[in-house]
């Protein structure tokens, strides 16, 4: 009995520290953020309740629709690349018989690079003049591309950076899932005359379906919050082609000091992300059951 008490006391001790941290750094700011969405504040006088005024200002801003459109485009492109590339990489890595540790490390390396550093390195590579990519293209006798300097290619250029920076984690998760597939399934498929593609489609994909779905949902939630790449590399340009929801939110808060409207926008984003998170929880619960 006495031992149980001592154990519980320790547990409560740890718990209280976590509770204080969550209360101060998560729950209070969250509650304050919800309130701010309906207030106008100057941090000198008492906040004034303004009803839906902040939301009305948002809806009247032409950049509001642009930001959501751009974010949807980034998310869609990031899924196409960020979903397919790591999966294919994992399949290839799973087939390798030599230097496996080396290749896994190489694939994971970009994840270890701080995001801002990665963005700055890519910014240099995208330089349409002496940048690495255009120098390589010209070396092959091809014309250079404007990359970040054109509204037509800027978003795709950011997606490439985000995919490159994040594919390591997804690849390792896929790899773990692939290694969990019993070898007999492949042997049976091979005996039935299935080629590489048919084995991939009829064995690998169904066996990793759950992991694929969970990562897909997590990726939607993460990519919709894209900020670092457009902030560091384009500031939303050219011609607003890379203004994302989070970048617009940041502008309202820290360029215009309009924390009310910024909070209103963050509430809208919360609702959208909340829907995807609910879906994610449903999927994982279903799998556990």
């Amino acid at each position: 009995m006495r031992r149980r008490v001592a154990e519980n006391l320790t547990a409560y001790g740890f718990l209280s520290a976590a509770l204080v941290c969550f209360a101060v750094f998560s729950w209070y700011p969250l509650a304050r953020g919800v309130a701010l969405g309906f207030q106008q504040v100057d941090f000198v006088n008492a906040p004034a309740w303004v009803g839906w005024e902040n939301f009305e200002r948002l809806f009247a801003d032409p950049l509001f629709a642009t930001a959501w459109r751009n974010t949807a485009l980034f998310t869609a492109l990031a899924l196409v690349f960020g979903f397919a590339v790591p999966f294919l990489l994992a399949v290839v890595l799973n087939e390798l018989r030599h230097f496996t540790a080396y290749f896994r490390l190489v694939v994971y390396l970009p994840v270890m690079l701080p995001p801002v550093v990665a963005a700055l390195v890519w910014k240099w590579m995208y330089d349409p003049g002496p940048g690495l990519l255009n120098t390589a293209l010209r070396g092959l006798g091809l014309a250079g591309l404007p990359w970040l300097d054109s509204a037509d290619t800027s978003m795709l250029s950011l997606v490439v950076v985000a995919t490159w920076a994040n594919l390591g984690t997804a690849t390792l998760i896929y790899l773990a899932a692939l290694q969990g597939i019993p070898g007999e399934l492949y042997e049976a498929a091979e005996l039935d005359g299935a080629g590489v593609l048919r084995r991939l489609w009829h064995v690998t994909v169904p066996q990793t379906r759950f992991v694929l779905l969970v990562l897909l949902l997590l990726q939607v939630v993460a990519t919709m919050q894209v900020f670092t790449e457009p902030y560091v590399m384009t500031s939303g340009g050219p011609d607003d082609s890379t203004v994302t929801v989070l970048l617009l939110l940041y502008r309202y808060a820290f360029y215009y000091n309009d924390f009310g409207t910024a909070s209103a926008l963050s509430l809208l984003l919360l609702l959208v992300l909340g829907a995807f998170t609910a879906l994610y929880l449903r999927v994982t619960r279903k799998a556990e059951a």
């Binding site: 409560y12 209280s16 330089d127 500031s235 050219p238």
Partner: protein, 451 residues
Amino acid sequence: MNSFRLRRAAGLLLATGMGLTAVACSQGGDDAASNGKVTIVVNGLPPQTQAFDRKIFDEDVAEFEAANPDIDVEPREGFMDPQTFSAKLAGGQLEDVYYAYFTDPANIIARRQAADITEYVKDVPHYDAIRRELRDVFSADGKVYGVPTANYSMGLVYNRELFTRAGLDPDQPPKTWDEVREAARKITALGDNKVGFAEYSRDNQGGWHFTAWMYSVGGQIARRDGDKWVADFNNDKGREVLDHLKAMRWTDKTMGEKQLLVIEDVQQMMGAGQLGMYLAAPDNIPTLVNQFDGDYADYGLTAIPDAKGTLIGGEGYMVNPKASPEKIRAGLKWISWKYLNPDRIEKNLQRYKERGQPIGLPVPPAADIWTGDIADRQTRLKESLATMPVGNFKSYVDTKPTGKVEPPNAQQVYAVLDNVMQAVLTKPDADVAQLLADAEAKVNPVLAQVK
């Protein structure tokens, strides 16, 4: 029983934790007058990387405190950063006396985030000798909310060495935008990725420089229409500026391939000897020399091309809206002693000169904010104590275009105008007239918010 005790213990622990946090948050509060002294927290202390400027600041604090034993100055590093300003104010961390660029006072005043110092400013010596247009930046509706301490106007910084190599006379820098275009062609023709002229186009800096271009050709960004403000760039002047920029970028190809530049990118290009010219204030030259290990002799500064007007900017100090009357008085005493003190101009220049610092550029330690006798005396002193090739900046000093301040709601207006600059610099087929019309439609609602 045990369970109850445990819960109570956990509750106590939680409460203690919260209490500690609350106490920690409330530290650093008002300790003014606790020992008969008024303590003022001021920013503007240079970082440790700027050892010389920091030492000067520390010496000034010591001298001021010795002369004013009832005031204790607590210096903090940094300047007013719009991105952290509100958070500092909300968290009670905003200094009593804080630095502000000319871009920000209008919004700070509109948001009531600065103290009304109208009554106190009467005690600031020589306040009336400060240029009126600079004082107006910190005033609204007949009330004063801050004092200007430094001023600059936009000019054209150029690389004298590249000018010489391109067959241009570095002592005869371009006077018009057409001459800039011609010089840019010759510099770009040197090859090796040399860029004739560079321009900013993001982080609101594109809009800022579009404003400077507009002023230079005699245009403006906004005008008063009755009791409200309206956009005033969708006209011949606006088209003239953008057509010129477009021609340099796409016809002449003298502005380099890489766009979406900000000031740091352009300074880097200039510091690396890759760039011929860019629009900048004089304070860019010490930055180029210090950061890129350059030589003052290699850089020239001339007046903004066409010179029908120029954008003026600068800095000043404002007071925390929560400051007590004692702190406001002490804060203004510090500002007027350190930054607005005609009796210390000669001593400051001497002090800089003796320690090997450049004297002669139109930048601090002698701020260009005065009128009348004080301005004349300062000019004479700077000339007599000059330590650098002042001839390189002569055309900038001699040409005196009309200085115009930034438009109201400058940051929001610049955000819209950034797009105009980006479009012209990144789209070969940009429709200048359409861009200006679209920008006007976006800027007018922003200006309509100005009271």
